[in-house]
Homo-oligomer: 200 residues x 4
DNA sequence: TATGAATGAGGCTTCATTCAT
DNA sequence: GATGAATGAAGCCTCATTCAT
């Protein structure tokens, strides 16, 4: 009986996963606005009605995809934080590994970021993704500022917003350079820009 | 007769203006996707059909709004360029006055920038706005690199993309600081980050 | 004064004519349903509103075009009738010269005939064209039947309807033969089919 | 499970049928152009959106109706051809039984024939119906010409076009005679007109 | 009389959502 | 839980028609 239930749960989980994957692919190909629920479910090889057993809207799917990504990022960052490093070093590492993850799920971040502008229901797409990133970065910056490793004439939240903006736009970049390299260069500039001058 | 025609043309121009303004306001309030043509025209106090006497789609309206803004920005930047200044100084000034203009038309830039990525008719929203900005900045940066005022281990187009990203995201910022101050702080970081080290 | 009026009238007549010609051309190019009043007036180089000074609907324009054609045909047929001929000869001549006229205004007949099917206001397109033709032919046939030149086991109106049908479909023919030759062949068959057998 | 599916499929088929019937009726009453999809679906007692589950345009509906009719006609004609007959006899029989079928679906043929010429989307209404008829008749005529039963100074395709025209116009006839009788009389004339003279 | 901008009814089409199976 | 046909609201767009100039 217990097995039966767990089997059922696994199956249910599977369908959910299938939908998420199909949605991700459709979003990537057609963009958020141009993707219909019918399209997702066709790509998923499931009936339209099934969608509503798992999600209540396209927005929720996107949110879920984004949350998954965020969780992965958080995990990686936490791992990076465990070793004892200087704040600039830590920040750089975090930026690099975040870049790697976003690169692997490239479409999600930009989609999410722009979805709020392009959804019919913008209220359903809260600022719940960004904080995940931003707060993590902000914490590192704050610590660095306390330790005197980063300049403190610019608030930490501004700096983390700036990091955020780098990811966002770079994901759309048309320049002939890889996403990760592009990020690295920008992070280098930023790090040089926020390093406390007396350390130079 | 000539007056008659000019009167009519003036009226026609006015109607166009009315629609643009109403559209801008609706875009700002509801976002691009959630704004319907009927909504725009209702806000404009005109019949739905009238829209099509002036524009052929919502995208075209957005494009027009954006083009108008870009032209203003270009003009200001050209003016700033005329005086002889150091590249960092020039860049800062341009950033500041661009910020001022964008601030006055805040909703347009982000809308445009994201619309180009995620409209149903992306082909109708070309990259015609951004270049206007980016190329201007890129030129200044290139000049500064040649003069040895800016670091040249990071390509100019990456840097101008970074500036671009600052405007884009800051326009969405939820932080409790004015748009222009926010931009100023970020530009300060960026300038410090790209200044040639030997000058320090 | 009289001249002024006549000048005005001539002008008015001219505008009307311009519209008719433009409409004919547009109908020919785009078909009846796909032609808009705006399109006609643009082709005519006149303002949209002007249309309503002369006609009250697209249907009326078509009707006018058709009526003009019919009048021409009637005239020719009357002329042909004046000389004394046998009925078959007369009928053949009439058919031939009708074919010639229709050929010169090819688009009108088929347009008219099908417009009744494709207009939103079929009630406005009466059977007022066909009678013009049909009655003329019917008269000739009736006379021929009375004289014993044509078989009379088939009613004259059926025969004239058959002639009518020949024009109608031949105007649409995709066969690689000229309209007039095509008509001639069919008329030959018809004449052989309706000739009183005792004359053979 | 299999039954479930078949039940649903049966229902789906029924809905399709309902729409076809309703469309046919609406076309007959209001004409093709004046019939709206909303009108069809209201007549069908179904929601507007449902239409698009089955057809993609009014044109497609018409095409389907016409194809159905053509198939029926072809079937009948093939059957008539199996017995050994003289060409004139065969042709007459075919004409008669075609007339019967068209009579039962009177509105379809003319609609189709004219729609193909004057729809907004003429490309969607190919010459796929007429050939069905015309080619069948043409074959019979050709055979008759080879056998010396029909005159051969008029090409077979002209003659079959003439038969075609008879059906087309007679379907619109306002004469006070039944469709089938009307056709019969005209076919009699045509047959007399194309019979090889030496047989008389 | 000529104009053409304004109008809104009306058609088309999409699609999220429901619900009977 | 899975299905997919049915639904109708809602958006888009066209165009005949009006009317102030």
């Amino acid at each position: 009986m217990a097995e039966k239930i767990s089997l059922r749960k696994r199956k249910k989980f599977q369908a959910r996963q299938t939908i998420l994957t199909a949605a991700a692919q459709q979003f990537e190909v057609h963009g958020f606005a141009a993707t219909s629920i019918a399209g997702i479910m066709q790509a998923a090889g499931l009936g339209v009605g099934t969608f509503y057993n798992y999600f209540s809207s396209k927005e929720e799917v996107l949110l879920t995809l984004a949350k998954n990504l965020r969780e992965e990022v958080e995990e990686k960052i936490s791992a990076a934080d465990e070793v004892n490093r200087s704040s600039p070093e830590l920040l750089e590492r975090c930026c690099v590994c975040t870049a790697k993850l976003i690169d692997e799920n490239r479409f999600i971040l930009p989609l999410f970021l722009s979805a709020s502008e392009h959804s019919d229901k913008p209220e359903q797409i809260p600022q719940s993704l960004s904080p995940g990133f931003r707060e993590l970065f902000e914490e590192i910056i704050l610590r660095g500022q306390k330790r005197g490793e980063f300049r403190d004439d610019v608030p930490a939240n501004i700096i983390s917003e700036m990091i955020h903006s780098i990811y966002q736009t770079t994901a759309f970049s048309k320049l002939e350079i890889s996403f990760q390299e592009n990020i690295c260069l920008k992070v280098k500039i930023l790090l040089d820009g926020i390093r406390e001058k007396k350390f130079l």
